[in-house]
């Protein structure tokens, strides 16, 4: 009997479901960073706003990378519904702390898919995610560096404006 199914699709449906979940998470991150950009614009942190516009675009890029992988492997990519975007932050420090939390959650989710793909013997998905694993190391590191800079600069007096200016160092 010919294996038409295997010829049409090269990953497991369980991996596909998890990757569709990740598409949603990246879309949520993209929308969250756009909300943060909005907050920064309204509160006078214009350089940080630029940083978050760029982050927002990058997250959409991540989403599309997974979307295209699902197309390439014969899967069924799903355009995500994005809801529950927080627009309220108490300070610029709060914004960056939330960013780090978000990135850590994304890292955990990607690691979880890698482990599941390994269990499933789905080598294609496992290898595809290599790039994301390393990307997350960089993303977390960037935000941690910014938080360190905030700590060193301090938020007293002109501190907040200095913090905003220095965020430029992380926009290439």
């Amino acid at each position: 009997m010919k294996d038409i199914a295997r010829q049409s699709m090269s990953i497991k449906v369980e991996s596909m479901d998890l990757l569709n979940g990740q598409i949603k998470m990246e879309a949520h991150a993209s929308a969250t960073y756009l909300a943060m950009a909005s907050w920064c614009e309204q509160n006078g942190f214009f350089t940080s706003a630029k940083f978050f516009y760029k982050q927002s675009e990058e997250e959409r890029g991540h989403m599309m990378k997974i979307f295209e992988f699902l197309v390439d492997t014969g899967g069924n990519p799903v355009s995500p519904e994005v809801t529950n975007i927080n627009h309220d932050y108490s300070s610029i420090v709060d914004v960056f702390e939330n960013t780090l939390e978000h990135e850590v959650a994304v890292t955990k989710s990607i690691h979880n898919i890698v482990k599941k793909a390994r269990e499933l013997g789905d080598l294609a998905t496992e290898r595809f995610l290599d790039w994301f694993v390393l990307e997350q190391v960089e993303e977390e590191n960037t935000i941690r560096d910014i938080l360190d800079m905030i700590e060193v600069t301090g938020t007293e007096g002109v501190g907040l404006q200095m913090i905003d200016n220095q965020v430029a160092n992380w926009i290439e």
Binding site: K2, I4, A5, R6, S8, M9, G75, N76, E119, L120
Partner: protein
């Protein structure tokens, strides 16, 4: 055509000659590509079956399914939906695209 999976209401066939699948829905036989089977799987996963057991959320206990680019319309009751969910799950396992449900929880 070879029978691949059969449940109470549904049967999956593979036609090697046409490089395609057929699903016997009882009411009709529908030719489906793997993509269309994946789309059916996704639709079934999105059905909130719990609502069938709550008279306010789903008063009639029916679901309307549009298949294959809206070419086919099926109206299914709770039993049929439950059977179809199982049927699709078993189909992907039989086709080698899904591991057994017990080993992976999503």
């Amino acid at each position: 055509m070879n029978v691949i999976v059969q449940t109470s209401y549904y049967t999956l066939y593979q036609s090697a000659k046409e490089r395609s699948f057929y699903v016997d829905f009882g009411q009709k036989m529908v030719r489906m590509s793997l993509c269309q089977l994946l789309a059916l799987r996704y639709k079934l996963m999105s059905i909130p079956i719990e609502n069938h057991f709550d008279g306010d959320l789903n008063k009639h206990g029916f679901e309307v399914l549009l298949l294959c680019n809206k070419e086919h319309l099926l109206v299914l009751n709770t039993y049929e939906i439950l059977d179809l969910k199982q049927f699709v799950e078993q189909s992907f396992m039989a086709l080698g695209l899904s591991v057994e449900a017990e080993t992976v929880t999503i």
